[in-house]
C-alpha cells in the first residue's frame, strides 16, 4: 500500500543559514556531557562517580521509575564532573574522552525474538531512542505498539538533508528496520517526502510501508503523519523513531557496539562556516563552534529554531539532536518597532510591509526578540493556518490551562505534542508560550492517568 498525503496548512520559514552539502573536518572535544534533562520524564539515579573510567555503552543513569531503562555513555573516558542545579537536580555529567574509543561489547542473541531484542536495547541504552505516542515520551518496554512510525525527513527550519544523513549507512538502516519490525504486531510506516528524500534507497527498503507526504512544515512531524494514516484514539500506543535511531539499532545488532556517531548539521545565519560534521551526542559547543561564529551576541540552539534547546556557547549537543542553529540574540530595543513598516524583515503575514518586495528565494535573518509582550488570547483564528489537525487549538490550550483532564482528552491531547504548537507559537500575536502550556498539559495527563 502506497499513499500520498498533501498537507496544506503550515509554513516554511525562510531562515538564513542553510548548510551546504559538505563535510567539515572532524573535531574531537575534550569534554562531552550527558544531559539528563534531555530525557523527558525520566527520574535519574546516578550509577557513576567522579573519577570512574567508563566504556562507550556502559550505563551512567538508571530510570528510577522504570529500572529497566538506562542511559549509557556515548563515549569512553573518565567521568570528570557531575553538575547539579537547584534542588540537586542532575544537570550534566561531564566525561573527558579517551582515544582511541573503547566499546563495551554486547552479546548479540542468537535467536532474535522480541524479548531478546528488547533486552539488548534496554541494556545498551538505545531503548531511550524509541519514543511513544501519545505524549512523545520514552516508550514503555512492556507495551506492544499498534505500529511504528519513522519520519524519514525533517521539515523544520534549516533541517539537515535526509539523504545526506543516511548516506553510507544503508545496510545498518535495513538491519535496524528488520530488528524493530519484531517489536510491533502492526506495520512500520516509513514516511518520506519526494521533494526532500530524493534518493531511490527508500523504495528498496523491506519490511516497511512507504507513504508520501508533501507540504510545508510541520509535514515532517510524526503527529501529522499519524493523524493522516491512523489517528490516535484513547488507549492506542504507537512508537516512533527517527532514521538515525534506526541506524544505531542496526549497528548494535551488526557488531555488538553502541555506536552513536551521527552526522549533524551546523546551521544558522551567525556561522561563518556551515556544513555537516560526524560526531557524538554531548559534544561541547565550544569545540564545534570555535572560530565559526560571526559575532558573540548569539543564541546557540541544539536543534532547530522552533523547538530546540537553548544550549549556550558553553553547552552541549543534546542527545537526540542532529542540528545546531546559531542565530542572533534579539536583546535590543526597537524604536517604534510595533508600527515601523519593516520592509526588510520577514513575516508570513501582510501586517509588515515586506510582502511588497519579498521574493520566494530570499532568506532572512531572524533573531530571538519577542517582538512584543505577552497578552491574553485575542485572535481566535491565528493558529489555524499553521495547525494541520482536526483539533481546535485554542480550546485545547484553554482546557490545559484549566487542568480539565476530561476535556483535554476530548479535544485531542493524545494526538499532539509540544512541537506541533511551535509554528502557532511563532506566529502568535499574543506572544504566548504555547509549547510550554502543551508540555504542562502532557505532564498533567501522565500524572493523572497513570
Amino acid at each position: 500500500m502506497k499513499e500520498h498525503f498533501k498537507i496544506k496548512k503550515g509554513l516554511d520559514i525562510p531562515l538564513e543559514g542553510v548548510a551546504p552539502l559538505k563535510d567539515l573536518p572532524n573535531i574531537s572535544s575534550d569534554k562531552y556531557a550527558i544531559l539528563p534533562p534531555d530525557f523527558r520524564l525520566l527520574t535519574p539515579r546516578l550509577l557513576v562517580q567522579e573519577g570512574d573510567d567508563i566504556l562507550a555503552g556502559e550505563p551512567i543513569i538508571q530510570n528510577k521509575l522504570n529500572e529497566n531503562i538506562f542511559i549509557t555513555s556515548p563515549i569512553s573516558g573518565k567521568v570528570t564532573a557531575i553538575i547539579r542545579g537547584e534542588k540537586r537536580i542532575l544537570k550534566q555529567i561531564i566525561i573527558t574522552p579517551k582515544f582511541p574509543q573503547e566499546y563495551k561489547i554486547f552479546n548479540i542473541p542468537t535467536t532474535l525474538d522480541r524479548d531478546n531484542i528488547i533486552k539488548l536495547l534496554l541494556e545498551s541504552g538505545l531503548w531511550v531512542n524509541i519514543k511513544q505516542r501519545p505524549y512523545g515520551i520514552i516508550a514503555n518496554p512492556s507495551d506492544t505498539p499498534k505500529a511504528i512510525y519513522i519520519s524519514a525527513f525533517d521539515s523544520s527550519p534549516l533541517a539537515p538533508d535526509p539523504d545526506y544523513l543516511i548516506k553510507g549507512e544503508e545496510k545498518n538502516f535495513q538491519k535496524g528496520i528488520d530488528i524493530i519490525k519484531k517489536l510491533t504486531s502492526g506495520p512500520i510506516y516509513l514516511n518520506i517526502s519526494s521533494s526532500r528524500n530524493k534518493s531511490d534507497f527508500y523504495k528498496n527498503i523491506k519490511n516497511v510501508e512507504l507513504h508520501y507526504f508533501e507540504g510545508p512544515h510541520p509535514v515532517g512531524n510524526v503527529s501529522v503523519q499519524i493523524s493522516r494514516i491512523s489517528p490516535i484514539n484513547k488507549g492506542d500506543i504507537y512508537w516512533y523513531l527517527y532514521p538515525q535511531d534506526v541506524i544505531f539499532i542496526g549497528r548494535l545488532f551488526q557488531n555488538g557496539k553502541l555506536d552513536l556517531h551521527r552526522k549533524i548539521v551546523l546551521t544558522g545565519s551567525e556561522l561563518t562556516d556551515r556544513g555537516y560534521i560526524t560526531t557524538l551526542p554531548g559534544i561541547s559547543m565550544q569545540a564545534l563552534l570555535n572560530n565559526r561564529l560571526k559575532q558573540n551576541n548569539v543564541r546557540v540552539i541544539s536543534g532547530n529554531a522552533l523547538t530546540g534547546t537553548n544550549a549556550g556557547l558553553d553547552g552541549f549537543l543534546s542527545y537526540y539532536d542532529n542540528q545546531i542553529t546559531v542565530i542572533p540574540e534579539g536583546n535590543y530595543y526597537d524604536f517604534f518597532g510595533w508600527v515601523a513598516p519593516k520592509f526588510t524583515k520577514y513575516s508570513p503575514s501582510r501586517m509588515i510591509m515586506n510582502w511588497l518586495i519579498r521574493s520566494k528565494k530570499k532568506k532572512y535573518v531572524l533573531d530571538t526578540n519577542m517582538h512584543g509582550e505577552e497578552r491574553p488570547f485575542v485572535l481566535s483564528d491565528q493558529y489555524d493556518k499553521y495547525f494541520p489537525f482536526d483539533i481546535y487549538p485554542v480550546y485545547l490550550l484553554k482546557a490545559i490551562l484549566s487542568e480539565n483532564i476530561e476535556q483535554m482528552e476530548n479535544l485531542g491531547i493524545y494526538e499532539i505534542v509540544e512541537e506541533d504548537f511551535a509554528l502557532p507559537e511563532y506566529a502568535c500575536v499574543s506572544k504566548i508560550n504555547l509549547q510550554e502550556i502543551v508540555r504542562k498539559g502532557i505532564d498533567l495527563m501522565i500524572k493523572e492517568t497513570t
Binding site: D236, R299, Y333, V339, M370, G372, S380
Partner: protein, 396 residues
C-alpha cells in the same frame, strides 16, 4: 533615538518596585513600550517569533478606519451646510460647490474631534486605572474600541453622555471580566447600546443625525428611518447612499470606504472573511425572504438596499469580526455571521421600535457565540469519540 532610550532608562528605577512612583508603573510601562518594543528575548519554546504583535494588529485596524474617520468629518460638515442651504440630500454636489471643501471639512473636524477625544480619554482612563489596580500591563484593546465608539454615535451626541457610556461599557463590558480578551460583548457596541437605552432622546428620532446647532431647521430623517416609516420612496439615490453623503452615525455612511477598509483588513489578515461574508449572505437571504413575502412597504424594499442603509455594513465589517467577541471556531464563525445578518434585517423590518437592527443583532450574537462554539466543538469531540469506538469494534 538613543537620548530617549537613555532618558527612559534613567527614570525607570523610580517606577520599579520600591521606587517613589511605583503607583504609576503600568502607566510608565505603557509609554515605554509605546516608544520601544522591549528587548525581551525568547526564553521558552520557539526561539524565533513573528514581528506581529497586538499593537501592530490594532494599528492596522486604525489604518483601515482612518479614511472613514476623515470622511465622517467631511460628511458631518456637509450635512450641516446642506441643511443650512435647505437643499435635498442628493444635492451634495451643490453644497460642496457653494461652501467649498475645506470649510465643510473644517466644520466637521471641529465637531468630531471632541467626540474622539472624549471617547479615548474616558476609556483609556479606565484602562490605565484597572491595569494599575491589577498590576497588569496596559492593553492595546481600547485603541480600536475608542475610535469605533466615536464612529457609531450620532454627531450630535452630548459629550458627557458619551463619556458616561464609554466608562460604563469599559468597566462593565470588559474590565469586570478580566480586560481585553476576556469580554463577551463588544465594548463599542455596548457603549452605543447603553446610550440607546439610557438616553433614547439623544439616540433616536430624526433630529439627531445632522449637526444642526445654530440652525433653525430640523434635519431630515435617515434612509433607515424613512424605510421604517414606509416612506422609502423619498430615500436618496443609491449613489448618494453608497458614497455616504447622507445623515447618520459618524462613520457608518460611506459604504464604499467601508468596503475598501474590509478589503484592506482581509488582505492584511487582520479580520476574518468568514464572518463578513456570512453576515452579508444572511442579510441578503433575509431580505430576499421579505421581498418574496412583501406584506408591507418595508418588506418590498429590494434586499440589497439593506447594505446601503444604516450601520449594518459597518457593523458587519468592524464589529461582528471583533476576534474576542465573535465565534471562535471557523465553522462557528459562519453560523454566527449568518445569524447576525438575518437578525439585523429581521429587527429592522419587523420591529419598528428599533430602526437599526445591526447593533442589537451583533450584541445578541455576541451572547450566543459561546453557545455556537460549544456546539461546533462538541461535534469535534463526538467525531473523535466515534472514531475511537469504530476502531474498537474493528479490533474485537
Amino acid at each position: 533615538m538613543n537620548w530617549l532610550r537613555s532618558f527612559l532608562d534613567k527614570i525607570k528605577p523610580n517606577f520599579e518596585k520600591g521606587g517613589k512612583l511605583y503607583f504609576l508603573h503600568s502607566t510608565f510601562e505603557a509609554f515605554e513600550v509605546f516608544f520601544f518594543v522591549p528587548n525581551k528575548v525568547t526564553e521558552k519554546g520557539s526561539h524565533i517569533r513573528d514581528y506581529v504583535d497586538l499593537k501592530r494588529l490594532m494599528t492596522h485596524v486604525l489604518i483601515a478606519l482612518a479614511p472613514i474617520v476623515l470622511f465622517g468629518m467631511f460628511n458631518v460638515g456637509l450635512q450641516h451646510f446642506r441643511l443650512q442651504l435647505g437643499l435635498d440630500v442628493d444635492a451634495w454636489g451643490q453644497v460642496v460647490k457653494e461652501i467649498g471643501f475645506w470649510r465643510i471639512f473644517w466644520y466637521g473636524f471641529l465637531h468630531i474631534l471632541p467626540i474622539i477625544v472624549v471617547s479615548y480619554v474616558s476609556g483609556l482612563a479606565v484602562e490605565f486605572a484597572s491595569a494599575q489596580i491589577r498590576h497588569h500591563q496596559v492593553n492595546e484593546g481600547f485603541l480600536v474600541t475608542g475610535m469605533l465608539i466615536a464612529l457609531i454615535v450620532p454627531p450630535t451626541i452630548p459629550l458627557w453622555m458619551l463619556s458616561v457610556a464609554t466608562i460604563f461599557a469599559v468597566i462593565f463590558g470588559k474590565e469586570v471580566f478580566g480586560g481585553t480578551g476576556m469580554n463577551f460583548l463588544n465594548p463599542a457596541l455596548l457603549t452605543r447600546a447603553f446610550l440607546f437605552f439610557a438616553y433614547p432622546a439623544s439616540m433616536s428620532g430624526d433630529a439627531i443625525w445632522v449637526a444642526s446647532k445654530g440652525l433653525d431647521v430640523i434635519s431630515g430623517p435617515t434612509p433607515l428611518a424613512l424605510a421604517a416609516q414606509n416612506q422609502f420612496v423619498q430615500a436618496p439615490s443609491l449613489l448618494t447612499m453608497s458614497l455616504g453623503f447622507i445623515p447618520g452615525s459618524i462613520g457608518e455612511t460611506s459604504k464604499i470606504l467601508i468596503i475598501l477598509a474590509a478589503i484592506y483588513l482581509i488582505f492584511t489578515g487582520v479580520a476574518n472573511l468568514r464572518v463578513m461574508i456570512s453576515a452579508l449572505v444572511g442579510a441578503a437571504a433575509m431580505g430576499i425572504i421579505f421581498n418574496l413575502w412583501g406584506a408591507n412597504e418595508y418588506m418590498q424594499i429590494p434586499f440589497y438596499y439593506h447594505f446601503f442603509i444604516g450601520g449594518f455594513l459597518f457593523g458587519a465589517i468592524f464589529m461582528a469580526t471583533d476576534p474576542v467577541t465573535s465565534a471562535q471556531t471557523p465553522t462557528g464563525k459562519i453560523y454566527y455571521g449568518l445569524l447576525i445578518g438575518i437578525f439585523c434585517v429581521l429587527i429592522r423590518v419587523v420591529n419598528p421600535a428599533y430602526p437599526e437592527g445591526a447593533m442589537l443583532a451583533i450584541l445578541l450574537m455576541n451572547v450566543f457565540a459561546p453557545l455556537i462554539d460549544h456546539l461546533v466543538v462538541q461535534q469535534n469531540i463526538n467525531r473523535r469519540k466515534k472514531r475511537a469506538l469504530l476502531s474498537q469494534t474493528i479490533k474485537s
